[in-house]
């Protein structure tokens, strides 16, 4: 009868043979130890260069308590200008997103590897994508405030420019993922390039396009609330002013309103998303 054993049985377990077993080889263990030391060294070096004034850090809990005390209760005195500035912020986000979408569509088409006409257009589109994306909205705002002067127009342009890269990169990826069969079929009926785009690419990309645009709109509502810090319009302007004048009760009111708008923005965009997709 076969017991399925190869010469040993578990009765030998009483006096087992000895083996050496390590999860990692000697070299692996050495590399791992060195990396731990490196991470600690890097942390030490980083901390030593950033110049933290420790007494201020230790006094933070007291400061927070003090600030909370001064912020309470939120002041309703400035509610009207706050709400007015809030509407401005929301509109900056909306208009900025809209302009970004219009500018991003051609960039996305030329940035999609499968449909771009040639290497130069692809390269150029990618340059726009990387260039606009790597500069933060606030930095764009600084630039546009310098160009157009302070105000919401600079804010709109800042939101739009930073969003172009985000939108076109994701839309380009959506274009690259479409089913190629219908495109071939449309080419086979003798449709022009423009018709192939309108009938083959656009319908297939619409769901992703909507999701991406709504996501960016959502992000932009949040970003638009801080644009005022650099003078690019919206609620951030009042926020900055209140901090400068130590009107902490107004600061807390602005914060509450911002949280409120971000929260309702989240609600609305997720509702629109569900409707569209």
């Amino acid at each position: 009868m076969s017991t399925g054993n190869n010469g040993t049985t578990l009765t030998d377990m009483a006096r087992p043979d000895h083996y050496q077993w390590f999860r990692f080889t000697r070299l692996q263990r050495m590399v791992r130890s060195i990396s731990y030391i490196l991470v600690v060294a890097l942390m030490y070096w980083a901390l030593s260069t950033v110049n933290i004034f420790w007494p201020w850090v230790w006094s933070a809990p007291a400061q927070i308590g003090d600030m909370m005390f001064r912020m309470f209760p939120p002041s309703l005195v400035q509610l009207n200008p706050i709400l007015y500035a809030l509407v401005e912020s929301i509109n900056i986000a909306f208009l900025g997103t809209l302009i970004a979408i219009i500018l991003a569509l051609p960039v996305a088409y030329f940035g999609a590897q499968t449909v771009t006409p040639n290497a130069i257009t692809l390269w150029f589109a990618r340059l726009i994508i990387v260039g606009t994306r790597s500069v933060d909205t606030l930095v764009w705002a600084l630039i546009f405030v310098a160009i157009f002067g302070p105000g919401s127009f600079a804010g709109i342009m800042a939101v739009a420019f930073h969003s172009i890269g985000f939108l076109s990169k994701l839309i380009a990826e959506a274009i690259e993922e479409i089913d190629w069969g219908p495109i071939e079929a449309l080419e086979a009926v003798g449709a022009s390039r423009a018709h192939v785009i309108a009938y083959g690419i656009v319908p297939q990309v619409v769901p992703s396009f909507c999701a991406i645009s709504i996501l960016r709109w959502d992000i932009n509502i949040r970003e638009s609330t801080v644009l005022g810090l650099v003078g690019a319009g919206g609620i951030g302007l009042i926020f900055q002013g209140a901090i400068d004048l130590f009107q902490w009760n107004t600061v807390s009111m602005v914060l509450i309103v911002i949280v409120g708008v971000v929260f309702s923005g989240e609600l609305i965009t997720s509702m629109v998303r569900r409707k569209l997709i």
Binding site: D179, A188, V189, A191, H195
Partner: protein
């Protein structure tokens, strides 16, 4: 009349898929192309409407060499060649009507196409074709709501919408269950007879080829080794066409047999 001479095509250097292929069709009848996978059947069809660009040789449709065309002239030639695909290749998110009308895009201006303002005669033709393929009730349904057989019917209607000079079908029934596949073959055979249209059809299924085709071409390793009537296609010929791929052949014969058991 379609005249293919000395057609050669290779995707990777040194491994030609088509090796100097010659083929002429002028009669208005259904020509089935059979052969094992990799014999070059799809490549041949796709060379004809230039979804694939052949390396050398010539493909003449009514005297125009399709291989030398580009741009607008190529589009004009493609309008005259209808194609039915194995995977239907419909735009799923568009309606049945939009997909059928897209067969007219080669004849339609940019704005008319984009805004779905097709000429009245195109709309009438689309309704007539949908009635013929039995989908009148689905005009405004989205294609992703249809079954495989229904989708292929839309594919047929789209190809016929072009009012083509010749129809190509690349394994139009291979994605369908046996019964539906039979219905689609009947439809294609019926349509081609009614419209007096020459058809080149790649088939995986030998019994279907012998049942519906008027002429059978056997393709092996990029060369046409058989050209004749269905009753001339003997066991001997089949073995030669499928030599080295006997399993392939057996499977296809069995699929065919199973279908006839069903009826």
């Amino acid at each position: 009349m379609l005249k293919i001479t000395n057609l050669e095509k290779s995707y990777t250097k040194g491994a030609p898929v088509l090796k100097g292929l010659n083929l002429t069709t002028d009669e208005r009848r259904l020509t089935a192309i059979i052969g094992s996978s990799g014999a070059g059947k799809s490549t041949l069809l796709r060379c004809i409407n230039r979804l694939v660009k052949a390396d050398s040789g010539s493909i003449e449709l009514d005297g125009t060499d399709i291989l030398s065309l580009s741009g607008r002239a190529l589009q004009d030639s493609r309008r005259q060649i209808g194609m039915i695909f194995q995977a239907y290749n419909l735009v799923d998110r568009l309606t049945v009507m939009e997909n059928v009308l897209s067969g007219r895009l080669g004849y339609t201006g940019f704005f008319r196409g984009v805004f779905r303002k097709f000429p009245q005669e195109d709309v009438d033709r689309a309704y007539a074709l949908l009635k013929r393929v039995g989908l009148s009730q689905y005009v405004n349904k989205r294609c992703d709501a249809l079954s495989g057989g229904e989708r292929q019917r839309v594919g047929c209607a789209r190809a016929l919408m072009q009012n083509p000079r010749i129809l190509l079908a690349d394994e139009p029934t291979a994605s369908l269950d046996p019964k539906t596949s039979e219905r689609i073959m009947e439809l294609i055979a019926g349509i081609t007879e009614e419209l007096d249209l020459p058809v080149l059809i790649n088939l995986h299924n030998v019994p279907q080829a012998t049942t519906y085709a008027d002429r059978i071409l056997g393709l092996r390793h990029g060369v046409m080794i058989f050209d004749g009537n269905p009753d001339e296609l003997t066991e001997d010929w089949l073995e030669q066409i499928y030599a080295g791929h006997e399993d392939d052949l057996k499977k296809q014969m069995k699929v065919g047999a199973a279908e006839y058991d069903d009826e």
